[in-house]
Assembly symmetry: C2
Homo-oligomer: 266 residues x 2
């Protein structure tokens, strides 16, 4: 098999190139129609070489989801902020903000991308395409237990981060002491899933939910006399200015999606 | 074609039997693998008869989504409640509560259901299976504009109902006057989509989000001195009792899913 000569994997390291090719193939073809040949076509590997490492498409996808978890947790593993409320708002913006993670998942992509027949080619299209493939994978949850386990891992990470931030906020006095960190984490994770689903199903990327999320944080979480750095005043009419300090945390990434939109035009 | 003798459609009425068969076939096979033969197998029609009315699977599915919209809006078209806050909580419970709508979509099902190879056969499994197929269809949103239009129609209905209830609440003084009905509607619709996605992707049906939704309603929407009928005290530890009045609105349907769970063990 040609795979035996594949230096990227011969050293036992994560085959980044295959992960990048898988990402691009998912964006272009979606999950249901994806074949090993599609992934090979996005890489410098042959289909036989891919099969040397991964018996099935499912096995390769599992390795990809594992890789995605690492990239995701690297990206949003720490969140700066003067207080827990600011960190919470920034974390949610980061989770819904595509740019950095997309670069990461691209691996060693260097212009090898082929023309896409996906839903959108206006520049932001790639992330939409990837979210579409991810939603297809989520719909496999009841059938492929191993996919569900990977999805649960990502979800547990998101909920864990929110829970820790909220608990720290209670300790420092910026978040009300009667707030339940676990309930809040489940609520925020559900909201994030809703934004991502709507982005695909309805093409909704206007970030209209962000203002209401800020109102939720202000009314439900913020301690009565807390002085926090994040601007939590929802103001749909004048967004893009006042709330931008809360969205700047995304590391300069484009805030043109989901919750991240309304506050950040940087 | 045998379809020409199909009395159910000869009068031009919605062929309820085909819709019921489509529902059952979606539950059993999911969307991606669904064939016209699968749908024929769930009905007393031949595949040729189905093709007489619907050229493609996509066309039949569009008719099904249209039928689903009618059934859904019939089910949750009106919501009783002493005040807007109670109606809002009940409406959200209804939207996430499967039983009635499932019966409706079954059409003239009378025991014709075959053994399911779906993810779950414990009785609540059928609704989970249907939600899985629906999530697959949502993932087709970027590719099949006609699906997206049907999904948008359902979403517009949900948002419209929430907006109207909130606006009525502002008028009657139970909901704060500074609440934006449209923002609230988008927020609630996003939460609903999140619950439905998590039900499929993660198998999450514990209704843990409901308490936090009630807290959201209480802190963000409820007017300061309003006396409302719904019990908005979130209390995960003692649920099933105190909040049941808010969940009873689902017309006796089983409250074993999503937001509807925590408050209703009836």
């Amino acid at each position: 098999m040609t795979g035996a000569t594949d230096s990227a994997a011969a050293d036992g390291s994560t085959p980044e190139a295959i992960m990048g090719a898988t990402y691009r193939a998912l964006c272009e073809h979606g999950y249901a129609d994806l074949t090993m040949q599609d992934i090979a076509d996005q890489s410098d590997k042959s289909k036989a070489s891919l099969h040397y490492h991964y018996d099935t498409k499912e096995e390769l996808l599992l390795a990809f989801l594992d890789h995605l978890y690492d990239a995701f947790t690297d990206d949003v593993g720490t969140t700066d902020g003067d207080d827990a409320v600011e960190r919470l708002v920034r974390f949610v913006d980061e989770v819904l903000c595509p740019a950095e993670r997309t670069d990461e998942a691209d691996g060693e992509s260097d212009g090898g991308e082929t023309g896409s027949d996906g839903p959108d080619d206006d520049g932001t299209g790639e992330y939409e395409e990837f979210q579409t493939a991810l939603l297809e994978i989520k719909a496999q949850g009841p059938y492929v237990e191993a996919y569900r386990e990977q999805l649960e891992r990502v979800d547990a990470f998101v909920r864990g981060r929110v829970r820790d931030i909220v608990a720290a906020g209670i300790d420092e006095g910026t978040i009300r002491s009667d707030v339940d960190p676990d309930d809040t984490a489940a609520f925020v994770a559900t909201l994030v899933d809703g934004v991502n689903t709507r982005r695909v199903a309805l093409g909704e990327t206007d970030g209209s939910v962000r203002d209401t999320f800020l109102a939720y944080v202000r009314a439900n979480l913020l301690a009565p006399d807390a002085d926090v750095a994040a601007d939590l005043e929802p103001d749909s009419e004048t967004n893009g200015g006042e709330a931008s300090d809360a969205a700047d945390a995304s590391g300069g990434a484009e805030s043109d999606d989901g919750l991240a939109t309304a506050g950040g035009d940087d």
